[in-house]
């Protein structure tokens, strides 16, 4: 049985949409939104809201009311359920491809942009000219020294406050696509689409920019509301609540592998 429609019946698609999946992300979401709003019209920005609460839910509602993005709420009482989240990512991507030529799917701490030394002026030019099926980013963690770096000031450019990065092959993620992707866990690869890595398209992963942000966020997500399947299989377990020292050690380990960021990245975020 053929499950997916083969005919593309829309000759008037818009050039690109971007979306993310958030769950109480008061620190990273403003950075994500500010970044992608430079390259996408607000009507082309979509936010899957998963069980957000309190002040953050109000932030989302206010943003949607001001038409800064379109919010789609999804329901699952579990904090993390990698299988379910991955299907949400894939299915929204399929749906958006009905109206858009390209879709960029990113986690909220993933900032995709073009390398300033590439031939592309910016991310908008990249996706507007993109002709492949999908493309993987060249990915770097932006890292911090958990015991010595000052807290991140969200009102200032992030890369003026952190200047170390770690290249990670695991961050070669096929985040920009023009065909329906069946994403696997964490959107690190797909089950159905071949793609190249393009060094012009970089992804800066912000998970390690401030240990206090991570500790605060992770501790709110109690272990009893995680998918047992995910824990048993080790999916996204870096986000599980854990001992403070353990989290600091995790950050130190990543920091120890870091190198200086190229000077021309400084203004990117």
């Amino acid at each position: 049985m053929e499950y997916l429609p083969q005919l593309d019946m829309n000759y008037n698609k818009r050039s690109g949409a971007v979306f993310t999946h958030v769950n109480n992300e008061d620190k990273f979401f403003p950075i994500w939104l500010k970044h992608y709003s430079q390259y996408y019209d607000s009507k082309d920005i979509y936010v899957i809201n998963h069980n957000s609460t309190g002040d953050f839910l109000e932030v989302l509602k206010e943003g949607a009311r001001k038409e800064e993005f379109t919010m789609i709420t999804v329901y699952n009482d579990q904090w993390f359920n990698g299988v379910w989240q991955c299907y949400n990512f894939s299915l929204l991507q399929w749906f958006l491809l009905q109206s858009y030529n390209t879709v960029l799917a990113s986690d909220v701490d993933e900032i995709v942009t073009v390398d300033p030394k590439s031939r592309y002026k910016d991310l908008r030019e990249y996706y507007e000219k993109f002709v492949g099926n999908a493309v993987a980013t060249q990915g770097y963690h932006i890292v911090s020294d958990p015991l010595n770096d000052p807290p991140i000031d969200i009102s200032r450019p992030i890369l003026e406050q952190r200047n170390k990065m770690v290249y990670d092959g695991f961050l070669h993620k096929p985040l920009l696509s023009r065909v329906r992707c069946q994403y696997n866990f964490g959107q690190h690869n797909t089950n159905n689409v071949n793609y190249d890595i393009d060094k012009s398209l970089i992804m800066l992963h912000l998970h390690y920019i401030d240990v206090e942000w991570t500790i605060e966020k992770d501790n709110k997500r109690s272990r009893d509301r995680w998918s047992e399947f995910d824990i048993a299989n080790g999916f996204s377990i870096q986000n599980l609540p854990c001992d403070r020292e353990e989290k600091i050690k995790m950050f130190q380990e990543v920091y120890s592998k870091s190198e200086e960021m190229p000077y021309y990245y400084m203004g990117l975020i």
Partner: protein, 273 residues
């Protein structure tokens, strides 16, 4: 480990799904949409009501945005310059149903002029009771056109009950549509059938189709949709061509035929909508 052993996930890894969502796909439907929303708001919470907004004009878009701001429903815009492109619409509906099933046990899709309710003499208290107890992959509604005499009936007042202003209805097997689903559905054009699911025809599940309730209302709406903006392949294939702008007398004839073939609306349905 691979998640996908077939193109669509066969199991949904969410034990906390809500019982039901309803959605429609609209394009400047200032007359029917308020009726649709009022009707389904009786059976669904506002947060479970979704509207796919296709190329709305500024005025109607403002109306929709106001509804979103007042938390009456969720709106997701879709983009295609063609007024009618039923293949595209059908794929949109199917794919959005797939996404909603990640969060909901059942999904009801209807066109904006299709109102579903349970027969008041059935065992179901309401449509909410029906979908909350739904156990099939899909179920087929029993569909009726509400008919009007294009020459004699007064204009419809959308603030009053429709069934108190129109007296006849016409059963049409073509309206027996599988509009409630609990598995990933591949709809065929117009959502009259599916390619992959089967389910019972539910005599207790009634759908009233409002297309024929007022000739002038429909004629005016169709006239605004110029033929140049239609998908030419669709016109050739004859999909949804009843909505094309066309000859006034021919259209009146269609309305009159539905009226003359119609029967009196049973007393038990009067006042439901």
């Amino acid at each position: 480990m691979y998640l996908w052993d077939e193109p669509l996930p066969s199991e949904i890894s969410n034990k906390d799904r809500r019982p039901g969502a309803v959605f429609t796909h609209i394009n400047d439907e200032d007359k029917f949409f308020p009726l649709w929303l009022k009707h389904y708001s009786q059976y669904f919470e506002a947060k479970d009501i979704y509207v796919l907004a296709h190329n709305s004009n500024e005025e109607f878009e403002d109306y929709l945005l106001e509804g979103v701001k007042n938390k009456k429903f969720n709106m997701i815009p879709v983009h295609n310059l063609s007024w009618f492109n039923t293949t595209w619409l059908c794929q949109n509906v199917s794919m959005f149903q797939w996404l909603l099933l990640q969060s909901y046990k059942t999904v009801t899709y209807t066109d904006v002029d299709e109102l579903i309710f349970t027969d008041p003499e059935s065992k179901w208290k309401s449509y909410r009771d029906y979908y909350e107890n739904f156990e099939h992959d899909t179920a087929v509604v029993k569909g009726y056109h509400i008919a009007s005499d294009p020459f004699r009936d007064p204009p419809i007042d959308l603030n009053k009950k429709i069934t108190e202003q129109r007296t006849r209805y016409l059963y049409d097997p073509f309206l027996d549509k599988p509009l409630i689903t609990s598995k990933h559905v591949q709809y065929n054009n117009g959502m009259h059938t599916t390619r992959n699911l089967s389910g019972p025809l539910e005599n207790d599940l009634i759908m009233f189709h409002l297309h024929y309730i007022d000739f002038d209302l429909i004629y005016k709406k169709d006239s605004l949709r110029t033929i140049e903006n239609w998908c030419s392949e669709e016109i050739k294939a004859g999909f949804s061509i009843q909505n094309l702008p066309g000859d006034i007398n021919a259209k009146k004839g269609t309305f009159l035929a539905a009226f003359l073939k119609g029967r009196k609306i049973p007393e038990k349905y009067i006042g439901i909508l």
